[in-house]
Subunit: 131 residues, 2 copies
DNA sequence: GTATATGCAAACAATTTGCACGCCT
DNA sequence: AGGCGTGCAAATTGTTTGCATATAC
């Protein structure tokens, strides 16, 4: 029950920098490929472990995209648009979301077919028990 | 390139009925366990195949919940609330979503820590190419 | 010195698929 | 009869983990 003292490792720093260097919401595998350019014998396990640490520390976000996880160093509140044709995941500014309806989206070039919202938190039942 | 003519099988009907019988957003595995009560030697592969068919036909929705898929026979537009403590996935009416802010959610007993929105559709780039 | 991190490989869990047979239509 | 559907088991895929060693502090 005591807080782990994180170390400042080359691997963790490089992994963070890779995530921060792009807005394409990369997967662990893509990050691994990039990281190998700098640390040829880095292992995929290390990439996964460090991504998890960075998420826990709130330095990056994990986005659930089908069966893969994607990662995002943009931790300001924003949403995503997933293209059903090419699979790309775009950022949508929080304010901009209000305007994403069929008409306005169309003008911006997006066709919105569907939307999916999940709120995270504590449900009434658990709020009672935890108290 | 010709449309598949679906057959009306016992397995598919039972699987649909199981999904429709609950609002707990079951996983493929739970559905499989229930289905075995009616068809003891049904296979998990069949459950997965039929769930996919039902999703394609628009009869049920697939909800991506971490690394598992959950299924929902309520196909009217609605959203979800995931409890970070017990993992339950609750339905949130579309209208109700507008009122889920920290104050009002609190009164209903929900604590909202985070929210996650994904829009699905066709992106500007693809809209150009597809024409 | 000591606890955290790493590389490697094996283990996992959810889902998909190839195949031979079965059964709607 | 013909083709879609099924059961079974093996294969795939994304991710996690155990272990011995390396390294940050």
């Amino acid at each position: 029950m005591h807080k782990i003292k994180r170390r400042n490792t080359q691997q963790r720093n490089i992994i963070y920098d890779i995530v921060a260097s792009t807005n394409t919401h990369p997967t662990a595998d893509w990050i691994y490929e990039q990281a190998k350019k700098q640390i040829p014998n880095i292992s995929l396990g290390t990439v996964y472990r460090n991504l998890k640490v960075l998420v826990e520390e709130g330095k990056i976000l994990e986005i659930n995209d089908g069966k893969v996880s994607r990662f995002d160093a943009n931790i300001s509140p924003h949403h995503h648009f997933k293209c059903e044709n090419c699979g790309s995941l775009y950022d949508i500014e929080e304010g901009e979301l209000l305007y994403i309806n069929k008409d306005i989206a169309q003008k911006k070039g997006y066709t919105v077919n569907n939307s999916f919202v999940v709120l995270y938190g504590i449900c009434p039942k658990c709020n009672e028990h935890i108290s």
